[in-house]
């Protein structure tokens, strides 16, 4: 038997860390969602399980594991089973290309699962489009009219907002000149963050990201008052838990993307020059941790924004959602591309870029 190649071992270790880390992060996102919503409503929030209620989410997941998994008699059993798996798998697959830093060992960036993939953003967009299959299949296979409506809404909403999202990204891509997320972050080095040059693009991406992750005020697929829970009405136990965790993983993905593409990733002006000055440069493992910390410090405010908006704004009506998507966001995204293109052409013409 041949020895297992070292590369495969490293990839395996990365996958192990990413998958388990994501599950823990998703669990704690649920905890913080409950805490922050409680604070916004003058409540305390979960505080019983463990110190400050920190083990609440583990208790919740354990409860979901031990609950009976009810499969209604008339559902399409195959797709009913596959749908939550698709949701979760696809949500996690996006992390193959998301880099958490730029620390090289033997010439390979070890802060990403699959570093140096030159279709980074395209891959993430593709994955988030497949995510809609999970929700739509769940709605369809449940054999329940409300679930079906939820699934249909989800499909329509995702298609409408995916367009604006992609077009908003094009502005940032024109500036960076690459689809590779590491390259995009490099292009923003030294405080040239895309959010400064692309405020409109950032806003459109933000709104589209809310819609993509099915978060309020765009959580129409699961609108409780209208659709009794929407696509996950007929799910119970850990299958429901998978949808639930997938929603939070998607939220984390969207926050990572915003941090990477618009907020400069792990870049802070002058920080790395200073660090290199005191000996923390490439080759010092501390650099990787610092980059990860900086990156995380940018992701957390984005996550807070997700919670904040969810607990402040009421849900859109369906026609308002479609109006916003097609009549406002899409033209604005196109205008953004035009503006960016003109700006780049002018800057090149005058020789500034």
């Amino acid at each position: 038997m041949d020895a297992i190649p070292v590369g495969a071992l490293i990839i395996g270790a990365k996958l192990f860390i990413i998958v388990n880390g994501l599950l823990v992060i998703a669990a704690y996102l649920v905890y913080f969602e409950r805490k922050i919503s409680a604070w916004m409503q003058n409540r305390i929030g979960p505080n019983r399980v463990g110190p400050l209620g920190l083990f609440q989410s583990f208790a919740d997941v354990f409860k979901l594991w031990t609950k009976e998994d009810i499969v209604p008699a008339m559902v399409d059993k195959r797709y009913h089973l596959i749908a939550p798996l698709i949701s979760m798998t696809v949500a996690m697959a996006a992390y193959a290309v998301i880099p958490f830093g730029e620390y090289y060992v033997n010439g390979a960036n070890i802060m990403a699962v699959a570093p140096g993939i030159n279709i980074g953003i395209l891959y993430i967009l593709a994955m988030s489009s497949i995510g809609v299959y999970g929700i739509t299949l769940a709605g369809w296979s449940s054999n329940n009219k409300y679930s079906l409506l939820g699934g249909l809404r989800s499909a329509a909403q995702m298609i409408s907002y995916e367009l604006s999202m992609g077009l908003a990204l094009i502005g940032a891509l024109m500036i960076s000149g690459s689809l590779d997320l590491v390259e995009i972050v490099k292009a923003q080095a030294g405080g040239k963050w895309n959010v400064i040059f692309q405020p409109l693009g950032f806003l459109i991406f933000l709104v589209a990201a809310f819609a993509e992750t099915n978060r309020a005020p765009f959580d129409l697929p699961e609108a409780e008052p209208e659709l009794v829970g929407g696509y996950h009405t007929e799910y119970s136990g850990m299958k429901f838990g998978l949808f639930y965790l997938a929603e939070y993983v998607n939220m984390f993905t969207a926050s990572c993307l915003m941090a990477l593409i618009y907020l400069g990733g792990w870049d802070i002006p002058f920080l790395y020059e200073q660090l290199a000055g005191i000996g923390i440069g490439q080759g010092n493992p501390l650099l990787g941790f610092i980059q990860f910390g900086v990156f995380f410090a940018k992701v957390v405010p984005m996550l807070f924004l997700f919670y904040w908006v969810r607990w402040s704004l009421p849900r859109f009506r369906y026609d308002q959602l479609m109006n916003l998507g097609w009549k406002i966001m899409l033209p604005l995204a196109l205008a953004n591309i035009l503006l960016t293109g003109t700006g780049i052409m002018l800057l090149k013409h005058f020789g500034i870029m």
């Binding site: 922050i36 604070w39 003058n42 409540r43 305390i44």
Partner: protein
């Protein structure tokens, strides 16, 4: 004619139609709320003590000489949920009558307070006890042993009844 005037979109100003400033105002409001004091009571540790006006579990008043109840049966008669059962008996004491059996079925009681209102002796009154948990239907039928409460513990309610009734 299907022409509407003064509809919402006409009443809104330009900045309201832009929608973003209004979102900002909404977000500011919720953000401010995060730093305000909470109103949560940590229930099993911090218990709420009701005032005299609270209608909790109905109880029988126990004086030094014995219970006040003379087993007239009015409470049983007036009870809309048929929760009270009284069986009278006689004694040689001054009061002559006492309830040999007095049972309230707490699964039936609706805490309306009619028994208290109708009682001529002020013998059955509503207490402050709201922690009513039973693990089987038999336990929920409270007999005299559980119903009789010393008068000292019921002063708030008696005070309230004297003042407002």
């Amino acid at each position: 004619m299907n022409i509407q005037h003064n509809i919402e979109s006409e009443r809104m100003s330009f900045w309201e139609k832009i929608y973003l400033p209004e979102i900002g105002r909404g977000l500011a409001l919720t953000f401010k709320q995060m730093f305000k004091p909470t109103f949560t009571r940590q229930y099993p540790e911090e218990k709420w003590i009701p005032t005299g006006s609270y209608r909790g579990r109905p109880v029988l008043v126990l004086e030094e000489e014995g219970e006040r109840c003379v087993a007239c049966g009015l409470c049983s008669r007036v009870c809309p949920a048929l929760a009270i059962e009284v069986r009278a008996a006689e004694t040689d004491k001054v009061k002559e009558r006492y309830p040999e059996k007095f049972e309230i079925n707490m699964l039936r009681c609706i805490y309306c307070g009619f028994c208290e209102e109708v009682c001529p002796e002020e013998a059955i009154i509503m207490s402050k006890d709201y922690e009513l948990v039973f693990i089987n239907p038999q336990d929920a039928i409270l007999g005299k042993d559980k119903l009789l409460i010393p008068i000292a513990q019921l002063q708030d309610r008696l005070e309230f009844l004297r003042q407002y009734r």
